[in-house]
């Protein structure tokens, strides 16, 4: 059993390296002529950063000069003007310029720039204006299982399996076995280092579940983004925005009286400052906090992916200047160490998202130890106990 598992892991590692080598080694163009390497590279990176309708692993040109794509199609689910339409993304034949038209349920669909458009009735082909917007079609409500959705579902399944088996182990013994030994310290770390100190001993249990879910969700997805499978799930604005909205909803609805009082009618400041502070605090609580959460995660992960891929692309862009061996060596060294840093960033971003979520929730549920007295003007009268505490 043990031998089989080591064999399997070796095979997996070899496969990942092979895919990695193939994914990035695509220097020739469709027509086999001279290619603008810089443009090709930037197009490839742009394509990777965006979500896609099919799971594309790598592509190559065969001896006949034909472009071959390796990957698998994913289901496309659309809500068009004629109702629900479903088909596999392979019907687009890897077209992304609106050339292939798929006809289903009496409407025709084209895919251009990773978006699916429904052509107006009677139109035989798609046309673009000078800014590459489709002029004779409309965007449809796209509920497709895209690559990112596959990533999210995969992580959900993975976490369900890993953590339910960990939870089951505690029924029989106090010490987990196998992979649970890796997970337990992480769970305890999130509980004792992130949740408890920031939310407080009284309320932390209620929110630890959410914080653990968010932490592992982001971390596993970040790490998955570093594999050559080409996931960029936490680098999608929709995903990070959704996570930020979860946190926003949780701390907004669990905020206590004190929290809302400090937002809407800040005690201890002159009366004419109170409305100004209320506007600032409201904007901070409802817009700036979630916005900073979502942009931080999105920008960090996207920037990381762009940097790694740009460094890998040095292989092609500096081929003429440094020679094939020199460019490959430089690209390997740089991308290797940046990838190591990205492994750290993957953890750090998950940690920071969880930490700030815990901090915001902690602010909303924090209770004063004791009431301060206020004088007639609303200033806090600091009692002797507080002063002593500050000095110690």
């Amino acid at each position: 059993m043990k031998k089989a598992s080591t064999y399997f892991s070796k095979l997996l590692t070899a496969a990942i390296f092979l895919i990695a080598a193939n994914t990035y080694a695509n220097p020739t163009s469709d027509d086999g002529g001279q290619v603008d390497t810089m443009e090709e590279v930037s197009e490839y990176i742009q394509h990777h950063i965006k979500d896609s309708h099919d799971f594309h692993l790598f592509s190559y040109s065969n001896d006949a000069g034909e472009r071959k794509h390796v990957g698998f199609p994913l289901p496309v689910i659309l809500w068009s003007s004629n109702g629900l339409v479903t088909f596999m993304s392979s019907e687009f034949h890897h077209d992304d310029d609106g050339e292939v038209i798929v006809e289903k349920n009496g409407s025709s669909f084209v895919k251009a720039h990773s978006k699916i458009y429904e052509l107006n009735s009677g139109e035989a082909g798609v046309s673009f204006d000078e800014t590459h917007h489709v002029t004779n079609g409309a965007k449809v409500l796209d509920l497709s299982i895209t690559k990112s959705v596959v990533g999210v579902l995969l992580v959900g399944l993975l976490m369900l399996l890993a953590f339910s088996s960990l939870a089951r182990q505690y029924k029989n013994s106090k010490v987990p076995t196998g992979f649970g030994r890796v997970l337990e310290p992480l769970v305890i770390y999130v509980r004792d280092e992130i949740s408890r100190p920031n939310i407080g001993d009284k309320h932390y249990r209620k929110f630890t579940g959410y914080l653990l879910t968010v932490f592992f969700f982001i971390w596993i997805l970040n790490l998955m983004g570093l594999t050559p499978l080409g996931f960029n799930v936490t680098g999608q604005l929709a995903v990070t925005a959704c996570l930020a909205i979860f946190t926003l909803v949780i701390y907004t609805f669990s905020g206590n009286k004190e929290y809302w009082m400090h937002i809407l009618w800040m005690p201890g400041v002159p009366i004419f400052v109170k409305p100004i502070l209320a506007v600032i605090e409201l904007a901070g609580a409802l817009i700036i906090k979630p916005f900073s959460l979502l942009v931080r995660l999105f920008a960090n992960i996207s920037a990381g992916h762009i940097v790694v891929m740009s460094l890998i692309a040095i292989m092609f862009t500096l081929k003429e200047t440094l020679g094939v061996a020199g460019a490959t060596a430089l690209s390997f060294i740089l991308s290797f160490f940046i990838t190591l840093i990205e492994v750290l960033v993957a953890f750090l971003q998950a940690y920071i998202f969880t930490m700030l979520s815990a901090l915001f929730i902690g602010m909303a549920v924090a209770e004063h130890d004791h009431e301060h007295d206020h004088d007639a003007k609303g200033h806090e009268i600091v009692d002797a106990e507080d002063v002593r505490e500050n000095f110690i």
């Binding site: 900073s292 920037a303 930490m355």
Partner: protein, 62 residues
Amino acid sequence: MYNMIGAGLIVIGAGIGLGQIGGKAMEGIARQPEATNKIQTAMIIIAALLEGLAFGALFLGK
């Protein structure tokens, strides 16, 4: 062109800020090594806030 200059300015500002945060945290740790964990946590939070600001600006300027 202008957004590139803007991006450069943002990075300069964020760099100065991160330098201040990291440097002061380092000083604090050197003075009180037993408070390392607390200082580190606070440092990371403040660095994250700064980073959010800088990325937000870069994102809006794009």
